[in-house]
């Protein structure tokens, strides 16, 4: 079993649904640290992604889908998450250009480029109370699991678990990036909304992979 563009579409749809379900929660987290609209912003972005994907032909490969997702998200939301996730999807698409379906190695390349794009654009590091606190440990765990030769579904399960730990850890951090950084020590005690929506994307991807390829994996 290999990872096709149809799988990618299905997962993107599941992410959009989960963001929609949790948008009030994300906005509530943001009211503690920022301007209270993170759920609204993510919802606007993912709804625009779903709308744009309806016009993408069935034959489009993963790279073309990623290009559409990145630009649709960017031009719907602007904000700071717009450029961050747009860069992530554009870099991820470029990493799998001309490849369809994706192998296990391609999926690793995809996520390496995705997270690399976020870090390059936002220049945040682990510990600054941002989405990077979810993405970086997730990517580290993913690489390690790949090196240990685990099956793909298990690799992503471990990545999601590491991302969750990173997300939860943001509650005890002092914000160093974005609008919430003005809070200083008052930001402590609140989980970062950007790290939380990152975990929604990550965990939905992982959950869908478990469903698609089973506990035994088998991709690639």
């Amino acid at each position: 079993m290999q990872f096709t563009s149809a799988h990618l579409r299905q997962i993107l749809g599941a992410i959009a649904e989960e963001i929609e379900r949790q948008k009030d929660h994300l906005s509530a987290l943001d009211r503690e640290l920022g301007d209270g609209d993170h759920g609204v912003t993510m919802s606007i972005g993912w709804q625009a992604v779903m709308k744009a994907l309806r016009d993408v032909p069935e034959t489009a490969d993963c790279a073309a889908i990623c290009q559409t997702v990145g630009m649709a998200f960017l031009n719907a939301v602007g904000s700071s998450v717009g450029p961050l996730y747009a860069t992530a999807f554009l870099r991820a698409g470029a990493a799998v250009k001309g490849v369809d379906p994706l192998s296990a190695q391609d999926l690793l390349n995809f996520w390496t480029a995705f997270v690399g794009g976020i870090i390059e654009r936002g220049k945040a590091k682990v510990g600054e109370k941002t989405m990077v606190d979810t993405w970086q440990p997730a990517l580290d765990a993913l690489r390690k699991a790949y090196e240990e030769g685990k099956d793909v579904a298990e690799c992503f399960r471990l990545a999601a678990a590491a991302g969750k730990e990173g997300m939860l850890a943001t509650a005890s951090m002092v914000s160093a990036k974005g609008r919430s950084s003005r809070l200083g020590n008052r930001s402590v005690g609140h989980q970062d909304p950007g790290a939380t929506s990152a975990y929604i994307i990550l965990s939905t991807f992982s959950d869908q992979l478990q469903n698609l390829f089973g506990p035994q994996g088998g991709i690639g």
Binding site: D24, S27, A28, R31, L33, G34, D35, G36, D37, G39, V40, T41, I44, L74, N75, A76, V77, G78, S79, S80, V81, G82, P83, L84, R121, G122, K177, G178, R179, S180, S181, R182, L183, G184, R186
Partner: protein, 331 residues
């Protein structure tokens, strides 16, 4: 939440439609992008294009400042969210008359990333773009370069707009804008929250008898929360913070902006200004020109901010220059 709106998701688009319909002699929406608002009148060819922008919810800033002697175009973002690169690029192309374009906006991560991406795209189309980020909010960070931009941006846009109108080159307009930004400091105080239309929730919660000093213009929590004080005491707190950051000597000249955040009345703002004047008189600081009103708001947030810009002859000249926009006229 009580607001006179239709669908919460449509507030920005419908606001732009209404604004453009109300002031066709000043602004138009570009057919290529319904979030790209530009001047509808002609300017001298080669005039530096002044582009400011940011999220919605700060009206009359930003698009209310499009007009003669001020701003040429504004990309409009969602509520409190930076505009994406597309409308920024469309505005840039529309207002460039060969002299290049200056971007000015508050120093927020989202604005920086989206405007930088647009600047790269504009460069690929052969348009020279320079950027000046507004960093007037004293409460937002100790280092001036890390600070956010709030109401003091009005002074930066005003001086740069006047310099462009005078026929200054892009490099010269940039120099004036940087000098203006370096000379402006703002401190704000909030009494009551604003409500994001899509969530209907207050942006923060303050007790009936509480105020918050240093609160951000999007409702970002401030630096100090306490019992509400009188207007005079509040001005003194704001002014002390500003003066500790922008030392003023006897004989210095300043421009003053007492800015309402949305629901605060002019009555309160005049009472605040009265104390500002008395306090500066004591210090021997001359108020060269003053502005009192709601220039940069956060929807219906209650509270106000105080901005001071220390003037040299050039900045004073630019501040005094005439301007004519739908929401700001100075003869």
């Amino acid at each position: 939440m009580k607001k006179l709106i239709n669908q919460p998701d449509n507030v920005v688009d419908e606001m732009i439609e209404g604004y453009a319909a109300a002031y066709p002699g000043y602004v138009k929406v570009l057919p290529s992008n319904n979030r790209a608002v530009v001047r509808s009148f002609e300017v001298r060819p080669g005039k530096v294009g002044i582009v400011i922008g940011g999220g919605s919810g700060h009206e009359p800033t930003f698009m209310g400042l499009i007009g003669k002697g001020m701003v040429d175009g504004v990309p409009v973002g969602n509520i409190f969210a930076a505009p994406p690169p597309n409308p920024i690029l469309e505005v840039t192309k529309a207002v460039n008359t060969g002299g290049g374009v200056l971007y000015m906006y508050g120093n927020y991560m989202g604005d920086c990333m989206n405007f930088d991406m647009a600047a790269e795209l504009a460069a690929m189309e052969g348009i020279r773009v320079e950027t000046v980020r507004v960093t007037d909010d004293v409460a937002s960070a100790p280092e001036p370069a890390d600070r956010r931009g709030i109401a003091g941006g009005f002074f930066v846009y005003k001086t740069a707009g006047a310099a462009a109108e005078r026929g200054y080159s892009l490099d010269e307009v940039v120099r004036v804008a940087r000098k203006a930004n370096d000379a402006v400091r703002t401190m704000g105080v909030a009494l009551s929250p604003c409500y994001i239309p899509q969530t209907g929730k207050p942006s923060f919660v303050l007790g009936e008898d509480e105020m918050e000093i240093g609160l951000g213009i999007h409702g970002e929590p401030g630096v100090e929360r306490g019992k509400i004080r009188t207007a005079d005491e509040t001005v003194d707190v704001l002014l002390d913070r500003i003066l500790s950051d922008l030392p003023l000597a006897r004989g210095d000249r300043v421009a003053v902006l007492v800015n309402g955040l949305g629901s605060t009345t002019l009555m309160e703002m005049y009472i605040m200004f009265r104390r500002v004047k008395a306090h500066l008189d004591e210090l021997g600081v001359n108020i060269h020109r003053s502005y009192v009103g709601s220039y940069v708001t956060s929807m219906e947030m209650g509270g106000c901010s105080l901005s001071l810009m220390k003037l040299d002859d050039e900045l004073a000249e630019m501040i005094d220059a005439p301007a004519d926009t739908p929401t700001f006229v100075q003869a």
